[in-house]
C-alpha cells in the first residue's frame, strides 16, 4: 500500500543552523509514528514544514502522492491534515465548544456568513467531538480559564473536526501530569484507531512513546539517526548515546520548558 505521507530530503536552515537536515521517511495509513529527539533537535521545525507554517529550504513532502511542500497551512488543512501545537493555540475569547464550532464552520465554508448566529451552528457535532476527548462537561466554559491539560484535549477535538486523514501532534502531553499523559495518549490512540487516522507525533516522555508508538524515528541535530520498531530503538546504541549524552534518560519524565 502506498504511504499517506512521504517525505524526501527535507531540509531547513536558519542562518548557519541546519535545523532539519535531509530528512526522509514514509508514514503508512493507520500508523502511529513517533518522532523523538532531544530539545532543539528540529522536531517542531519538521512539523512546521509538514503543515506549511514554515517553507522548507529544500525537499519534498507528498500527501497521497501530491507535493504539499511550501503550501499554505490552510490549504494543507483542507487536504485533510490536522495538527496540534507544542504551545497550545486556542481562541481565548470563545467558549470551549465555540472553539470546535469554529473549525466546523471553516470546514463547511461558512466563514463569511453574516446572517446566521454562529453559536448555534454545528453545535451538536462539536459537542460529540468534545465528548470523544472527554471535555463535553466543560463545553460552555470560557477557554481562557481552562487548565493546560484541558487545553490540550480541546486542541485534539479541534484537530479532529474536519475528519483528518493525517494528524500531526507536537508534544500532545507536554505540561501534563504523568498519569494524565498516559490517559490522554491512550485516548488519542483509541480515537485514531476508531477513525483510521494516521498520526505523527513528538513526545519527550518515553513511557508514552514506548507504550503507544507503532514505530519510532530519532532526530538529532536535524538528522534522522534511527528509524525502527520500539524494540529496535530501545536497544540502539547510537540512540542511547544521544540521549545519555544529552542528559536525558529514557524513563525520565522531562518537562518541556522550551518555547
Amino acid at each position: 500500500m502506498s504511504p499517506i505521507l512521504s517525505v524526501r530530503n527535507l531540509s531547513r536552515s536558519f542562518g548557519a543552523i541546519k535545523a532539519v537536515d535531509d530528512v526522509s521517511f514514509d508514514l503508512a495509513k493507520g500508523e502511529l509514528l513517533a518522532l523523538i529527539g532531544p530539545n532543539g533537535a528540529g522536531k517542531s521545525t519538521c512539523f512546521n514544514m509538514l503543515m506549511g507554517q514554515l517553507k522548507p529550504s529544500s525537499g519534498t513532502v507528498q500527501l497521497l502522492g501530491k507535493n504539499i511542500a511550501g503550501m499554505q497551512p490552510r490549504k494543507i488543512w483542507r487536504m485533510g491534515v490536522g495538527r496540534t501545537f507544542q504551545i497550545t493555540a486556542t481562541y481565548a475569547s470563545m467558549t470551549v465548544v465555540e472553539n470546535v464550532q469554529m473549525a466546523l464552520m471553516s470546514f463547511h465554508r461558512k466563514l463569511y456568513s453574516l446572517t446566521t448566529f454562529a453559536h448555534t451552528l454545528y453545535r451538536d457535532e462539536a459537542l460529540s467531538l468534545l465528548d470523544t476527548v472527554g471535555m463535553v462537561d466543560q463545553a460552555e466554559r470560557h477557554c481562557a480559564v481552562l487548565a493546560y491539560g484541558d487545553l490540550k484535549r480541546l486542541e485534539l477535538a479541534v484537530a479532529l473536526a474536519h475528519d483528518p486523514i493525517l494528524l500531526l501532534m507536537d508534544e500532545p502531553t507536554a505540561g501534563m501530569a504523568p498519569r494524565e499523559r498516559i490517559a490522554l495518549m491512550q485516548l488519542t490512540a483509541d480515537i485514531l484507531d476508531a477513525k483510521g487516522v494516521s498520526v505523527l507525533f513528538t513526545e519527550h516522555d518515553m513511557d508514552v512513546v514506548f507504550s503507544h508508538a507503532h514505530r519510532i524515528m530519532v532526530l538529532n541535530r536535524g538528522q534522522l539517526i534511527a528509524n525502527g520498531s520500539v524494540d529496535e530503538i530501545r536497544n540502539n546504541p547510537q540512540v542511547q548515546e544521544v540521549y545519555l549524552g544529552g542528559g536525558t534518560l529514557f524513563n525520565a519524565v522531562q518537562e518541556d520548558a522550551h518555547a
Binding site: A89, A92, T95, M105, T115
Partner: protein, 620 residues
C-alpha cells in the same frame, strides 16, 4: 544643474529634523516596544522651548545653546511622561499604550497653547548664518549648509553611542532580548526611562533646529507625525541608518515635488512608502519584527452571546423613544441627535474591526471623510441627487478600504497602526492640496439633501434608519460566523490558518466592511452639514473615533456607539471650556491606567456587583 544641486541641498537640510525625530521614535520603539504617538508633540515642544530660550540667550552661543538646552529640557519632559504615563502600561496591549500617548498629545497641545498662545511664532535666524551662498548661481541659505553638516554628526554620535558604548550595548541587548537585560543585572525601568529621554531629546533637538526654517505653530505635532511614520516605515523600525536614508529620500523628494508637481508633494511621499512596502514589508533596512507580543490587561475578553429577549425589548423600546424624537422635542435636539447617530455609526464601524478583529486603525477618518468627500464631489460635479450620493459614499469608501487595507494588512500590530495613519494623512493631503477639485481648505459647500428631505425631522429619520440599521448590522456580524472568524484570526492567527481560515482575507473583508459603514456615516454627515472640509479627514478625527471606542470599552460589544453617544452628547458642553483638550487628555490617561474596561465594561461590572446582571461562572 545649479538648481538641481541646490534642491538636493535643501532636501538634505530638511532631512535633518526629520531624521532626528524619526530616530528618536525608532530608538524608543526598539527598546520599549512602544510607538510613541506623542513624538510629534515633543518635536513641537522643542520648537517652542527653543524659541523662548533664544529670546533670552543672546548671540551665536545663545542660539546654539538654546537648541541644545531645548533638547535637554524636552528630554526631561519626556522622562516625566515616561514615568507617569508609560510605566503603568508597558505590559498592556498596544492599543492601550497608543491611546495613552495620544492622551499626552492632547495635554501637550493645550499646555503649549496656554503658555505660548495661539499665534504662529516666527523663528529667529541663526546669528552668523543669515545669508546665502551661491552654488552655481543658485542661492542656498547658509543655515541649510549648517544643517547638512550637523545632521551626520548627530547621526554619527548616535551610532557611536549605540554601537560602541556600554549604554549602547544595553540598548541593543534590550532591543533583541528583554530577559537578557535583566540577566545582565540592569534596572530595566531606568534603561527605558533613559532611552525615552534620549528619544525625546532628539525630537526636541529636531524641533529647535528647524526654528529658523519653519518657526513654531500648534499644528506641527500632527504634521510631522505623518512624515515620521513614513520615514520609519520606509527605513525600517529600529534602524538608525534606515531612518537617515529614508529621511533624506523623503526630504529630497519633497523639494523636487514642490518644484515639479506642487500639488502632489504630500501624496508623493506615500506613494514611495507603498512601493517600498510592496517589496520590503519591514522597510529598506529593517528586520522582520514580531510586534504585538503583549499580555492582556485585566481580565481576558469574555465569550459573547446574542442578546436575550429582555435586552431586545429594551433596545426596541429605546429605538421607539429615539424614533419619536421629532414629535416631542425641538429642532435643536433633533439636529444634535442626528449628529450623535452619525458619529455613533462611525465609531461602531471602527469598534467592529478593532474589537472583534484586533485591527487597531489610526486612520479610520479616511473612510468617514472619504465617504463624505465622495458624496460631495458627486453632488458638486455630477449633480447627483442625495439618494444616489448616499449609496455612492459607502461604495467609494469601501473601494478605498480595499486598496488601503490590502497594503496595510501586509503588516501587523504597530506597523499596521502607523500605515493606516499614514494613509489617513494621504487622503487628507489629497483633499487639502488638490484645491481645484476639492476646494482645498475652503472645502465643498452647498451639499444639501433633496427637497423632500430638507426638513430637519425628515433628515433625522433618514439618519436614524441608516445609522441604527448599520449599527445593528455590525452587531449581527459580530455574532455571525464572520465575527467569529475575525476573533479567531485575532486570538490565534496560527491556529486559524491551521484550520483553513484565510486570516488576511477575513481581515481585509472586515476592514472593508468597517470602511463601508464609516463611508455611510460620512455621506450622512455631509448632507446634514451641507459642507465638507479637509479636517474631517484629519488624523485628529481618526483619533476622536479611537478615543470614544476606547473610553466606551474595547472589550465589550456596545463600547463603540455608547462611547460615541456619550462624548458627542457632552462635546458642546465640554468644548466650551478653554482647555478641554487638557482635561480630556488627562482623563484618557487616567482611564488607560485605572479603568481600562471603559464605560460599558465598568457599568457591566457594577451591574454584576449589585446583582442586576448574572455573573458568568468562569468570570468569578
Amino acid at each position: 544643474m545649479g538648481l538641481f544641486i541646490a534642491q538636493i541641498l535643501t532636501g538634505l537640510a530638511n532631512a535633518g529634523a526629520l531624521f532626528m525625530v524619526a530616530s528618536g521614535l525608532s530608538l524608543i520603539f526598539g527598546v520599549t516596544r512602544v510607538v510613541n504617538f506623542a513624538h510629534g508633540s515633543f518635536y513641537m515642544l522643542g520648537a517652542y522651548v527653543g524659541y523662548s530660550l533664544m529670546q533670552v540667550l543672546p548671540g551665536m552661543v545663545g542660539f546654539w545653546g538654546a537648541i541644545l538646552l531645548a533638547g535637554i529640557i524636552v528630554g526631561l519632559i519626556g522622562v516625566i511622561v515616561e514615568i507617569c504615563v508609560l510605566r503603568p502600561v508597558y505590559s498592556a496591549p498596544e492599543l492601550f499604550q497608543l491611546v495613552a500617548t495620544f492622551g499626552v498629545i492632547l495635554v501637550i497641545q493645550d499646555l503649549v497653547l496656554m503658555i505660548w498662545g495661539p499665534q504662529d511664532l516666527l523663528g529667529p535666524r541663526a546669528p552668523g548664518l543669515k545669508g546665502v551662498i551661491r552654488i552655481m548661481g543658485e542661492p542656498v541659505p547658509q543655515y541649510d549648509i549648517a544643517l547638512i553638516v550637523i545632521t551626520p554628526f548627530v547621526a554619527f554620535a548616535l551610532w557611536y553611542l549605540i554601537t560602541k558604548t556600554r549604554v549602547g550595548t544595553l540598548v541593543r541587548a534590550a532591543t533583541q532580548d528583554r530577559e537578557m537585560v535583566s540577566a545582565l543585572g540592569v534596572n530595566q525601568a531606568w534603561l527605558f526611562t533613559g532611552v525615552f529621554f534620549l528619544g525625546c531629546a532628539l525630537a526636541g533637538l529636531g524641533g529647535a533646529l528647524q526654528l529658523p526654517k519653519g518657526g513654531a505653530d500648534l499644528l506641527m505635532d500632527f504634521t510631522i507625525l505623518g512624515s515620521v511614520f513614513v520615514v520609519v516605515v520606509i527605513g525600517g523600525m529600529g534602524s538608525l541608518p534606515g531612518a537617515y536614508l529614508a529621511a533624506v529620500i523623503i526630504s529630497v523628494l519633497n523639494v523636487f515635488g514642490v518644484t515639479y508637481a506642487p500639488q502632489s508633494t504630500l501624496v508623493l511621499m506615500f506613494v514611495v512608502m507603498v512601493v517600498v512596502l510592496m517589496f520590503r514589508p519591514f522597510g529598506l533596512l529593517g528586520k522582520e519584527e514580531v510586534a504585538g507580543e503583549h499580555g492582556q490587561v485585566g481580565e481576558p475578553e469574555r465569550p459573547i452571546k446574542p442578546a436575550g429577549n429582555r435586552i431586545r425589548l429594551l433596545v426596541a423600546a429605546g429605538l421607539v423613544i429615539l424614533g419619536l424624537l421629532p414629535l416631542y422635542s425641538g429642532n435643536f435636539a433633533v439636529v444634535l441627535v442626528t449628529d450623535i447617530l452619525i458619529f455613533c455609526l462611525f465609531a461602531a464601524s471602527l469598534h467592529f474591526m478593532l474589537g472583534q478583529g484586533g485591527l487597531v486603525s489610526f486612520g479610520h477618518a479616511a473612510f468617514f471623510g472619504g465617504g463624505a468627500y465622495a458624496a460631495a464631489l458627486f453632488v458638486t460635479y455630477a449633480d447627483t441627487p442625495m439618494e444616489l450620493a448616499l449609496v455612492l459614499a459607502p461604495i467609494c469608501a469601501g473601494l478605498a478600504a480595499i486598496i488601503i487595507g490590502w497594503v496595510c494588512l501586509r503588516s501587523t500590530g504597530v506597523y499596521f497602526a502607523m500605515l493606516t495613519l499614514a494613509f489617513g494623512q494621504l487622503l487628507w493631503s489629497l483633499a487639502f492640496q488638490w484645491g481645484d477639485v476639492t476646494g482645498g481648505d475652503d472645502g465643498l459647500v452647498n451639499i444639501w439633501p433633496s427637497d423632500w428631505a430638507s426638513d430637519n425631522s425628515v433628515y433625522y429619520y433618514i439618519a436614524f434608519f441608516l445609522c441604527t440599521g448599520g449599527i445593528l448590522l455590525l452587531r449581527q456580524a459580530a455574532h455571525a460566523p464572520f465575527g467569529y472568524a475575525m476573533r479567531a484570526a485575532r486570538d490565534s492567527a496560527r491556529q486559524a490558518e491551521a484550520m483553513g481560515i484565510n486570516t488576511k482575507r477575513v481581515q481585509l473583508v472586515a476592514f472593508t466592511f468597517a470602511g463601508i459603514m464609516a463611508g455611510l456615516a460620512g455621506g450622512l454627515f455631509v448632507f446634514s452639514k451641507g459642507s465638507i472640509f479637509p479636517n474631517e479627514l484629519e488624523t485628529a478625527r481618526s483619533f476622536d473615533a479611537l478615543i470614544v471606542v476606547f473610553l466606551g470599552g474595547v472589550k465589550t460589544l456596545s463600547g463603540g456607539w455608547v462611547g460615541a453617544a456619550f462624548f458627542e452628547g457632552i462635546k458642546d458642553y465640554l468644548t466650551r471650556f478653554e482647555y478641554w483638550r487638557l482635561a480630556l487628555g488627562l482623563s484618557i490617561i487616567i482611564v488607560v491606567i485605572l479603568g481600562p474596561e471603559g464605560i460599558v465594561g465598568s457599568l457591566r461590572k457594577a451591574g454584576e456587583r449589585f446583582g442586576l446582571l448574572k455573573v458568568p461562572e468562569d468570570a468569578k
